[in-house]
Amino acid sequence: MTKIKDAFRALLRYPSAVLGLTIILFLLGVSAYALITIPYSEAVRLWRGGEDVWYKNPKYAAPAWYNFFTSKKQPLSFAVETDDGTMSKTVASNDPNISTVDINYSFDYTYDGFPEEMILYFTSTFTAKFPFVSVSWITPDGRKFRIADMAIQNNSTFRFSQDPKLLSRLNTDKVMQALFADPKASTPTPLKGTYQLVISGTTFEKGSDIAAQFVFQGKLFGLAGTDKYRRDLMLPLLYGTPIALAFGLLASVGTSLLTMVIAAIGTWYGGWIDELIQRITAVNLVLPFLAILIMVGTFYSRSIWLMLGLAILLSIFSGSIMTYRSIFVQSKESSYIEAARAYGASSPRIIFSYLIPRMIPLLIPALVSSVPSFVFLEASLAVLGLGDPILPTWGKVINDAFTDGALYQARYYWVLEPAVLLMITGFGFALLGFALDRILNPRLRDI
């Protein structure tokens, strides 16, 4: 116990180790947050969801922080609704059967670009007579546009850019430019100021009501942006963290521990067991590692847990089993093993209580340093199109971006966000592993 404490204290003397530990703790925190706020089934549902889940988001929207890097500020997306009070609604009635519903929303627009689209979703309750709404738009300089007059059913959707009547009334196919442009400017530039959306509705029945949702799709969305399917990239970025950590840690712990145990057993018993282990290692050297993973992924299943098991299985009998073996051969002859044998310790006891614990200083740095390679292995498989079909992972995002030509079309955020997270993860574990190696194997400390 004191040994561990000493090692930990020694670790804190290395700035790189502190940085690595901080990164890993941060990633663990993100994982915990992701797992608590988004349950597994919910994450899968959202990630697999189509327009019905993500209809509010614009396609290919860059993240909000994009505005920090550009002088031409782009509009940020938002959505408001009457149900949760973000859009004001007043109901007035003189007649028991007829009531008027006034819905108002005004917002400041200070951007240099035009939005993508604006959509109104109406839901209403009635038995026979459709409620009626008229929508108008007031610009900062006081001009008023009549947008739509329509009867609404239980669920009605009004897309500003796709309404033929509005298109012909404005005499343009660019509705957003017509509604936002400054009439005095020679080139289309948006007029900055407070815009107002006015919806006046009328219901013709007792108990009939109207609810509205106003979705403003700008050029930017949230902290992570959206992809081709309007999915918020925050979901895979957040949820990819526990998956990447679980994959990397399980694979490296499994591989390192099993390699060590097998090497110890082989060396201790010697004879045909040792010979067999060495022959398996030689055969494994011939087997194409990545090709086997690709084959299983293509032919059988792309489940991440199957890939994990396979990666462990193929990595156990690698070159490191030979390294461990050569060290075990030496420690097998040392006097404390002789003593254990003399008092009659059983073979398993000697292997697990005497041989293996001595190797832990070698094991831990190797284990920590091998985490990044497994994290990147998962991403590599995803980049080849063999990522888990249902789970949101970082590699999947990179793969989606690549197949959609994100780099050609200058949608850099789509590739950069998961790539930076991968890099941070890899760097954190690599830094800690290097520092641990220097602390636990003092032979290298001076070098």
């Binding site: 790189s16 060495q278 022959r279 030689a282 055969v283 494994n284 050297l285 011939v286 087997l287 194409p288 990545l290 090709a291 086997i292 690709i294 084959m295 299983v296 293509t298 032919f299 059988y300 990595s315 070159g319 490191s320 390294t323 050569s326 740095p365 190797a366 340093s369 091998s370 985490v371 990044p372 390679s373 497994f374 990147f376 991403a379 590599s380 980049v383 080849l384 990179i398 690549f402 780099l407 050609y408 200058a410 850099y412 590739v415 950069l416 790539a419 991968l422 890099m423 890899g426 760097f427 574990f429 690599a430 830094l431 592993g433 290097f434 290298l444 070098i447």
Partner: protein, 379 residues
């Protein structure tokens, strides 16, 4: 993977007392035969396992059979020439065509029989014909499909791996002489960068040099249409090579330097090196005769292992850069369930590996006078 360890040759065994002049020769023959035998067994088992996996225990057969049935049923249903046939006649025609196609693919034989045919063909390097893939020239010969892609792969793997190897050995040698210097510390600090695979750096390089600066191509081997002039063609290929090769180099050079530097440092703290320095030998001589000489077996082992990995290509890097090499071909072969191509690619690697392992033993004996071929254990 991330923690690169240098492959060290097997520890030399104590010298065996020489009794007869020809006992050395006998021991050599016996050792060689045993070594060849174990290596051959290893190759056979490795290749057979690959064949079994490439078929998923008969699962791929089912996929292929269903695919054949779908394709033929569809092609007959959509062919206007067969539209007026009686349903029974058409059904017969479909069954006949399916039987033909199944026979062409060899699916009428049980997989066990086919697997041994694949194995014997592979071992005799009779690579045979691909099932679905064709080379760009239109040939179905596996040999031609692989040969066509070999130059592109060797260009990429060869240029990058050789630069990594020689640059890291020479830089490491220099660093080991003046360790603790600013540049040495920088290399140590940068060595964790090798945690990321080449394609990862590839993404950043494409982003910076192709997408933003627009000075280098996004990927591919040559421009389309390719330049007619031979010199212009070569230069164009080199221009396309820069990004993939640099991503491979960047992703492993720092760790490689670090590993070699540590290795050289361990050897340069030996007593005989101190002695040589004390004698006042010039640093060049100390380096060449007292550090490089004893480490030569390790350097050669690593170089030999590197040369055979050139064959495999970098599947993912080639995919990201659309580099038409062997890695991408293997990936496509798997997508086509093309067992002959998968097996062909594996057997060549297996043979190269076995041959290298075999020759290395003799090379050690040549460069290291302490090692004797076949003395002691046969590991």
């Amino acid at each position: 993977m991330a923690t690169e360890t240098l492959a060290t040759p097997a520890p030399e065994t104590p010298l065996v007392k020489k009794s007869f002049a020809n006992s050395t020769f006998l021991r050599l023959v016996r050792y060689t035969a045993l070594r060849l035998f174990t290596l051959a067994i290893t190759v056979v088992i490795g290749v057979y396992l690959t064949i079994l996996i490439a078929n998923m225990g008969g699962y791929v057969d089912t996929i292929m059979r269903n695919e054949v049935r779908d394709n033929i049923t569809q092609s007959i249903a959509s062919n206007p020439a067969y539209r007026n046939l009686q349903p029974a006649v058409r059904e017969k025609l479909i069954q006949e065509k399916i039987a033909n196609e199944v026979e062409r693919l060899g699916l009428n034989q049980p997989f066990v029989v086919r697997s041994f045919r694949y194995l014997t063909n592979a071992l005799t390097l009779n690579l045979g014909r691909a099932i679905n893939m064709t080379s760009d020239e239109g040939s179905k010969e596996v040999r031609l499909i692989l040969l066509e892609r070999l130059p592109a792969t060797l260009l990429l793997t060869g240029s990058s791996e050789l630069i990594i190897f020689f640059a890291s050995v020479f830089i490491a040698l220099t660093l080991s002489r003046k360790y603790g210097s600013w540049f040495d510390k920088l290399t140590i600090a940068l060595s964790p960068t090798s945690a990321a695979p080449p394609w990862f750096y590839g993404i950043f390089f494409i982003l910076i040099f192709a997408a933003i600066l627009r000075i280098l191509p996004f990927g591919g081997l040559v421009d389309s249409p390719p330049p007619v002039n031979k010199v212009a063609y070569g230069l164009n290929v080199l221009k396309h090579l820069i990004l993939p090769a640099s991503s491979v180099i960047i992703s492993s050079i720092f760790l490689s330097i670090y590993t070699w530097r540590t290795f050289f440092l361990i050897y340069s703290s030996e007593d005989y090196v101190e002695m040589a320095k004390a004698k006042g030998l010039p640093p060049k001589d100390v380096e060449r005769r007292y550090i490089l000489r004893p480490t030569l077996p390790t350097i050669i082992t690593n170089f030999a292992l590197l040369v055979i990995t050139l064959w495999t290509g970098f599947t993912i890097t080639e995919t990201v850069f659309l580099w038409p090499g062997l890695g991408i071909t293997l990936y496509r072969a798997i997508g086509f369930y093309d067992t002959p191509v998968i097996v062909g690619s594996t057997i060549i690697y297996a043979y190269l590996l076995a041959l290298t392992m075999f020759l290395l033993d003799f090379v050690y004996a040549l460069v290291d006078p302490r090692v004797k071929v076949g003395s002691g254990s046969s590991q």
